[in-house]
Symmetry: C2
């Protein structure tokens, strides 16, 4: 069955009164939306102190013996020379402990501000922030199948994220707007985040000038002085694993740090290709590469916020394709979480990953496995929390709302279990006694409305009711829901002067450049 | 889209050479099959000592102040009188600490034997055993949709479980064989487990005589003396929550204990109905009910093996239906795990639950959430590891193979991360260096074959390859796979004399009873 061939069930047009009530509970972020989650369950620490130290020692030996290349960025190399690293051309080697020492100036926790102050997020410590997926060239939905993303798709996903009470962040390159020239896309993307969302967002990282443009647009919203003192934008920079930092990336990373904005430092290690096939080795490599990137931000501007990222992936031995939501990266994330906490740095992990080409059973098995690992390992900023299908290549409209619904369940999960007299309910047992039901007892009446997570996507009806309503599957229900969310979307207010200043900036920058398509 | 309307993709008939190779790796249990898992990651302990003690204290007060009713089983009541409980008719109240004291004679870990000695399982401690789902009246597949289960379906699922390298146990009432009279089903089910599987299994619990029949059949396989000394059969008994033990269940529980076989003691608490809507209270109730049932086994026969079970569920506030794979029961399982370990008892949890009526995205999101909670909380015996759809009412052939595939992934997950010189791969970094790939390096060549979990159900191909192969979804691939597994199934050898003795017993018992259909 192809995604193109699936028709929207006729049942999608007929909603019962029950469904209407259910939907009214979650319309828009107000009411249900929390700006971020403060976790009330501990992290899942799976490795012993002794084994963590062995991994750290291996990272130190990689950094000392093999080193890292910093290509095409003489400023970065100069930073390392001054800091006392051993520099040989573009190869930089580090004495054990040197990077840890430099990293002491980085904050363990910081605030990223939003243009709506109610939506600021805390990144680090016990805080958890969900952001949409990032970087797909394609988009998909059940009606049209897969095609290249456009700026309209981009805006749609910003609007869907803004409309979900279960995301906290507008993200960055939610999908590539392939209909806009490569050298101008960042202007339209950053403008869309500001215009159609009032949550925190991310800027461009594809060139230093584009990072500077992104930060400049943030200054138009928040004011120059405020931006110099506060984090208002994130930039997600990738290591060229193994053990290479490209000049574009380090220049971008330094641009964000220089402006006191947070770089997110992320090696992408596909075991067996960009790193060893064994998990412990890939983790040590990830630690080495991330420490070097994070430390560079501190050389550019001591005290600048920075996020310790990671992205471990496994490989299909049959096809050589990357695989996601598999056990090895899940286990790897848990270890990386422990290592990040030992460095006192905020942690980024990846969320709802899958290689499935449809919003089907595989997609949610892999996504759930991957997302729970991010939540358990203590990640503070979970990028890719919603939308991915097709091994990171496609943003799916249906998967987006399935994933955000799961993000909602994780709010309840991260609240853990409250243990107090009311929750322990001894009086209810005294009232009800053996063999009777709790439906109408005083404790139930007082607590039932907030008692259980209430999914907007799952079907919990009886088989007969479900059958009578048209046998819709999850993807079909999600198809109905994203269309409804888009139809009901209302843009958050934006001061006219700010909007004009942003549009002037975008038009001015666009006017100064010829279109570039690659 | 109905499950009846989904056609098997034509692609199911054409398998590539790659797929054939992949399948040959996992054909039959030999090679990949481990009799059970010894976990190499810690349990996920989410609650503080102080809060665990508050829950235990609440359970003690429920047991002391409200008590539990033991209905229609004077022997059980007599046991409690002798043990010093306060008995008032069928209501039994327990002094704080009394049940804990009685439970000290129960083993923390025990062996359940299988007729193939290579397949014995250890239950308790760091060991994890996956068993199929249990108790559905309906079965489903993509070709025929939902219908009542038959003895042929039952045999099919026994064969599928036996053919999966990722299950360890044949389970019990995998589905209800509705075409066999109610009072004779247990004979056909136990016979099928013994005949078509050589793994451990469970016996009947619907009447004391049926439990006795089940144990008697086990004696024909293992010998009377051996059975008196060793566990060879489990019986899953349910509390009639809240706070009632029915006489049928306690008689069955005592029958298993008397024969030195393991009862699995399971309260089914749907919060707001059979227990309070608040998690802490439901957990305290579960602890009280399970402790009482487990302790009764020790009064019947001190030292008999027993398994501490639990089954917490949430409720849809819209429909009043139970919901599964939701955050509250997942969190509840983690706490129950901590409580079971404080009692030194083996723990049973439930696996791949869902209310979805199709093997779709919802089904695997909920199943994955539920199964990971069972794995994280330290469950030793995970019933319902494969097959459930439709809120426990249906066994799905497709979901069964999806779930067993996920059980395979969990083997790798529970292995955790190995940290030694080979896994840390420092030599590989020295060999490869910055900017090069690890594809052909010595470390990769030495390790790649065992490096990554290799799913048999997930599609990791490129979009283009997947599209060219017919755009099959996970359910379609699972449909192909269960048919192939059934077609290739080979019965494990069974001694002719044993088989004859079993058939004689079954025929004798059947001949002595008129058919009963309810």
């Amino acid at each position: 069955m192809t995604n193109q061939s699936v028709e929207i069930s006729p049942a999608a047009g007929r909603r019962s009164g029950r469904q209407a009530r259910q939907e009214s509970r979650s319309r828009g972020p107000q009411g249900l939306h929390r700006p971020y989650i403060v976790r009330n369950i501990p992290t899942y620490d799976i490795l012993s102190e002794e084994n963590l130290e062995r991994i750290e020692a291996t990272a130190d030996r990689i950094l000392e013996e093999v080193g890292i290349e910093f290509r095409d960025d003489p400023v970065a190399v100069e930073h390392w020379k001054k800091a006392g690293a051993r520099v040989d051309g573009v190869r930089v080697r580090f004495a054990p402990g040197m990077l840890r020492e430099i990293l002491k100036s980085a904050p363990a926790e910081f605030t990223q501000h939003a243009r709506n102050p109610a939506n600021l997020v805390r990144i680090g410590g016990p805080n958890v922030v969900f952001a949409p997926a990032y970087g797909s060239p394609f988009v998909m939905d059940l009606d049209q199948g897969r095609r290249y993303g456009t700026i309209e798709d981009f805006r749609n996903f910003v609007k869907l994220a803004q409309s979900s009470p279960w995301l906290h962040h507008s993200g960055g390159t939610i999908c590539e707007p392939v209909d806009v020239p490569v050298n101008k896309r960042h202007l339209d993307m950053v403008y869309s985040h500001i215009r159609y969302s009032d949550r925190p967002f991310m800027g461009s990282v594809t060139a230093e000038s584009r990072a500077e443009d992104s930060i400049e647009m943030a200054r138009l919203v928040f004011g120059r002085a405020f931006v110099d003192e506060n984090c208002v934008i994130l930039g997600n920079v990738n290591v060229n694993s193994p053990l290479v930092w490209d000049g574009t990336m380090t220049a971008v990373l330094r641009a964000y740090a220089r402006a006191n904005q947070a770089a997110v430092v992320v090696p992408f290690i596909l075991g067996g290709a960009m790193g060893p096939v064994t998990n412990a080795g890939a983790i040590a490599q990830s630690l080495a590469e991330t420490m070097a990137g994070c430390a560079l931000t501190q050389l550019e501007r001591p005290g600048a916020p920075v996020i310790f990222g990671n992205f471990l992936s496994s490989m299909s031995l049959r096809s050589g394709s990357p695989t996601f939501g598999t056990p090895e990266p899940a286990i790897g994330s848990m270890v990386i979480g422990q290592l990040a906490r030992r460095l006192n740095l905020p942690l980024r992990c990846s969320g709802n990953f899958t290689t499935s080409k449809l919003p089907d059973a595989q997609s949610m098995n892999e996504a759930t496995m991957s997302m729970l690992a991010a939540v358990h390992c203590g990640a503070n900023f979970i990028l890719h929390s919603a939308g991915f299908l097709d091994g990171l290549l496609s943003m799916s409209y249906e998967k987006f709302v399935m994933d955000t619904d799961f993000c909602g369940a994780l709010h309840t999960y991260l609240d853990g279990v409250k243990v107090d007299d009311d929750q322990l309910a001894l009086d209810a047992f005294r009232e009800v006694g053996p063999g009777n039901h709790f439906f109408g007892c005083a404790h139930t009446m007082a607590n039932y409305q907030s008692a259980f997570w209430d999914s907007q996507i799952s079907d919990n009806d009886s088989f007969e009711k479900w059958e009578a309503a048209g046998c819709e599957d999850t993807a079909g229900r999600a198809n109905y829901r994203w269309k409804k969310m888009l139809a009901e979307y209302e843009a958050p207010p934006l001061e006219e002067a700010t909007d004009e200043a942003l549009q002037d900036f975008v038009n001015g920058r666009k006017g100064a450049m010829a279109d570039a398509w690659y």
